[in-house]
Each structure stands twice: as C-alpha cells, then as structure tokens.
C-alpha cells in the first residue's frame, strides 16, 4: 500500500461525504412526508394559533422569565455576598440555600411554593408574585455561584486601589468589584437566562388562567384540541425566538471579553 498519509486522509474524507449523501437521500425517499407533515405541521392549526401564541403566550413567557431573572439576580447577588462574608452563619445559610435549590428539581420547588407556602405562612400571593418567587428562587441558586466566581475573579489590586483612595470595603465592592464582576460573568449569566426561559415552562403547575398561559402551556392546551403536534412545534419555534438571539449575545460577549476590546464608556 503505497498511499501517502495525506492521500489516505483525503480519501477517508470523500468516503464520509459519500456516506452522508446516501443516508440523506435514503431518508428523503423512504420517509412519508405527507404523514410527517400531518403529524407536525398542519398549516390550518398553525394559523389558528396566531396571533395569541405571540401576543399572549410568548409575551407571558418573556414576562415570567424577566421577573424570575430580575428577582433571581438580586437574590443571587445577596447569596454570593453572603457566601463571601466573613460572618460564618451567612456562609452556612447561603451554602444550604444554594445546594438545596440547585439539587432539587425546579418542578418540586414550584409545587412547594404554590401549594405549601400559602398553607404554611397563611399568605396568598398574586400569580405573578408566585411566578417571580418560584423562578427567581431557583435561578438565584445557580446565579449565586456564578456571581461569587465573578467577584473572586476581579483582581485583588482593584480592591487595594479602591481602599487606598479611601473607599470603605462596602463602597469598593459596590463601585469597583461588582461592576467588574458582572462584566466577567455576562456570558455565563446570559446562558442562565436561556435556561430560565426554558424553566418558565414548568410554571404550568401553578394552574394559570387562559390569559396567563406561557408558551408550553399554550401549546399543550391547543394540542388537546388538535389532531397534530403542530402546536408543540410552533411553541418550540417561539422559544427559539428568545433563546437563539440570547445564545448569539452570549457568544458575542464571550468573544469581546477574551479579546479585551471595549468600546468607550461615558464618564
């Protein structure tokens, strides 16, 4: 066999193209496209979902996610600061919270908050507050660890410079460390926003009214009156409207972070 290594690698590559083409052609010819289309894409059903899938379901998904993310970010920051605190009980509380809510399925947490909290504490929250507490409470556990890592990644010299200018520990944290930490963790934080967007599908357990449906509940509800899976496909595509741009944003921020090039920021 007098074939050079490079030549052989080239033939192996051609062979892979060949196999791929054969597989694609086989699938294309053997599949029953009509059946698939009936199962997943019925244009009439798809059309019937508009405009509510956007004006109600997508809107609600975005509202729920935004509320959960906002609350989760605030609580996550508090937990991260507690975890870095010199007061030991703060660290213990934060650790227990983070480990518990990270280790338990979000669905169970939602059930606990929806059914358990009103009984245990004799309070009835409005639906949006429940959603915010449930999604944010779970999101905070994940974000706390990310924020803590970000705070610790800010060079020690930044704090020393701030302190030597007369800033107190807290002032240096707020003015110098936290803004820089958030720049560092923007890419992973964007990823957590994506995860939270998908987790918002679990709040169907909170038994919402029709006008409170988010994408998954809306899709399932339409599905129950439909002979095809079209509503699920449409709902899924709607999630991509949110998550794809966020994914690009995350990668853009990551790239910008590694090259260190930053646009001017006004004073």
């Amino acid at each position: 066999m007098a074939m050079s290594k490079r030549k052989r690698a080239e033939y192996i590559r051609y062979a892979q193209y060949g196999v791929l083409i054969v597989v694609v052609l086989l699938v294309a010819f053997l599949a029953d496209w009509g059946q698939i289309r009936r199962a997943f894409f019925n244009t009439d059903i798809a059309a019937s979902m508009f405009p509510n899938v956007i004006t109600v379901a997508l809107k609600n998904t975005i509202i729920y996610t935004a509320l959960g993310f906002g609350f989760g970010l605030a609580l996550g920051l508090v937990l991260a600061l507690m975890k870095l605190s010199s007061v030991a009980p703060y660290r213990w509380i934060a650790t227990v919270y983070i480990e518990f809510f990270r280790g338990v399925p979000a669905l169970l947490v939602f059930i606990g908050i929806y059914y358990g909290v009103p009984i245990a504490f004799q309070v009835q929250f409005p639906p949006l507050t429940t959603v915010m507490l449930a999604l944010g409470g779970v999101g905070a556990a994940y974000m706390a660890e990310t924020i803590r890592a970000g705070i610790q990644a800010v060079p020690k010299g930044q704090v020393e410079a701030a302190r030597s200018l007369g800033m107190s520990q807290g002032r240096a944290m707020i003015t110098v460390v936290i803004p820089q930490a958030f720049r560092i963790i923007l890419p992973p934080l964007t990823n957590e926003l994506i995860l939270l967007t998908k987790d918002s599908s679990l709040i169907y357990i909170l038994g919402l009214f029709r006008e409170q449906y988010e994408l998954t509940k809306f899709g399932r509800e339409t599905l129950s009156r439909s002979p095809s899976l079209t509503p699920i496909l449409i709902a899924g595509l709607c999630y991509l409207i949110i998550t794809l741009p966020l994914g690009y944003l995350s990668r853009y921020l990551e790239r910008r972070g590694t090259t260190g090039s930053r646009k001017k920021v006004s004073a």
Binding site: R163, S164, L165, G166, M167, V176, Q180, S266, A267
Partner: protein
C-alpha cells in the same frame, strides 16, 4: 521645613511564622523624597504597604499627617484619602474611563460636586501630560500612560504624601522615563514621597534620603550620595555592586 509627615517606630510585620519586618524606625519630613532600595524579599514593599495600612502591622506605631494609623479606633478610610498610593501593576479601574478613574473617589469619598471633581481630574491629567486621554479606557493605554493616570488619580485626592510601590518595574524600558519624569516633577513641586524602587539613577538624583533594607531591617540610611555613592555596610556594597554592574558578578548568595 523639618515638620514630620510620616513617623514609624518599632514596626513589626509577620505573615504567619515569617517575620518580614523586624523593628523598623523611620521618619519622613514634609517635602522629602525617600527612596527605599534593597533585594527582593527584604520587606521594602511590605513597609510601604504598612504606611497606608494595606498591610496590618503586627506591632509598632505608625503616624501619618499627625494621625496614628495603628490606633484601633482610627478612621482609616479618612486617613487614606491623604495618602496617595501608586502600584507596580497600575490597578486602574478597568471598567471606567480615565476621567472616571480620577473622579470616582473624589465623588464617592470626598463628596465633591461633579464639576469640581472633573476640574481637579483634568488639572491632574495635565500635570502628567495626558489631557488628551481623558475619555480613553485603561486597556487602550500603554503601561507608561496607565501608570501616569494612576499617579494623576492619586493626586486628585490632594494627598499630603505619595507612596510609590515599584512604579516602573512592570514597564517596558523605553516607557520608564515618562513615569520617572512625572515623579521627578512631583518631587520638585515639594510633594512628600516614599518610593520603593530599583531605579538607582532616580534615587541618586531625586531622593533626599535613601534607605537600604535587607532581611526585614533597615541596614543603612542617609543622603543618596552616601548610601548609593559611598555605602558603608558590606550588604549595601554587595547589593549595589550587583544592581549597578550586573554582568560582572557571579551568582548571588543574597536572600
């Protein structure tokens, strides 16, 4: 002119079992430039960092501008506003542009109005020759420019004494001169300065007093012409021989 600005007596500092400073006494008069030289590990940076309490002394007394920093009840944040510090690695706030780096502490700590803070900042940028960089981000500047901004940032607090911790050690050789030039100008204007440095030329020309440290002690101190020009202690002689003429000596057994 002999008013005391910094007075250190019996200063000790240990990191765990490691004794870095062993009984340091040092007095700096107002308007004086004191250069601290010595081999790495001699404790000179630790000494400097004790002067604004970035390091907490294990013993001894430090008085700066009439305030005893080692008093447990001292308002250290207030005291630090009068003590400017310049670091080897610049430590500019990387998320803020140059002007904001110079105004942030004026605004948040000294509570100066925005207009005044900006005016003070621009004046000090001019002093270090970087007026045109006010709206640049630190990452867009060369090392020498960043260090000059760091000096301007410290000056914007109107300090009574400036501490320099090896301010040119992280710079490319051709950028060292810019920073030393700014420091010399500052010295000429009468600023009280404590400078940890390896720049013997600067120490010789600018310092009113040179201190040679080794092993946690002040081994020799006096006018630059004496300590650098005509050292008396063997440790000082050997150190200076190596620093001033590095290629004509064998491997060191110092430190």
């Amino acid at each position: 002119m002999s008013e005391t600005c910094v007075e250190i007596t019996g200063l000790k500092k240990s990191f765990g079992p490691l004794e870095v400073l062993k009984n340091i006494d040092l007095t700096v008069s107002r308007g004086d430039v004191v250069c601290i030289i010595g081999p790495s590990g001699s404790g000179k940076s630790t000494l400097l960092r004790c002067v604004n309490l970035l390091e907490d002394p294990s013993g001894g007394k430090i008085v700066v501008n009439g305030t005893e920093l080692t008093d447990p009840d001292v308002d250290i944040d207030a005291a630090r506003t009068k003590i400017g510090m310049v670091f080897q690695s610049f430590n500019l706030f990387s998320h803020l542009n140059v002007l904001a780096n110079l105004t942030v502490a004026q605004r948040k700590v000294l509570k100066r109005p925005e207009e005044e803070a900006k005016r003070v900042a621009l004046h000090n940028l001019e002093r270090v020759g970087l007026s045109e960089k006010a709206y640049s981000m630190p990452a867009q500047l060369s090392g020498g420019q960043q260090q000059r901004v760091a000096i301007a940032r410290a000056l914007s607090m109107n300090p009574e004494v400036m501490l320099f911790d090896e301010p040119t050690s992280a710079l490319d050789p051709e950028l060292v001169g810019d920073v030393l030039g700014v420091m010399r100008q500052l010295a000429d204007e009468g600023m009280t300065m404590l400078v940890v440095t390896h720049e013997m030329q600067f120490a010789r020309e600018v310092a009113d007093k040179v201190i040679f440290m080794d092993g946690g002690y002040i081994v020799e101190e006096g006018p630059a012409a004496d300590v650098i020009g005509n050292p008396q202690e063997p440790r000082t002689q050997e150190f200076l021989a190596r620093v001033l003429d590095p290629t004509h000596h064998g491997p060191s057994d110092l430190v």
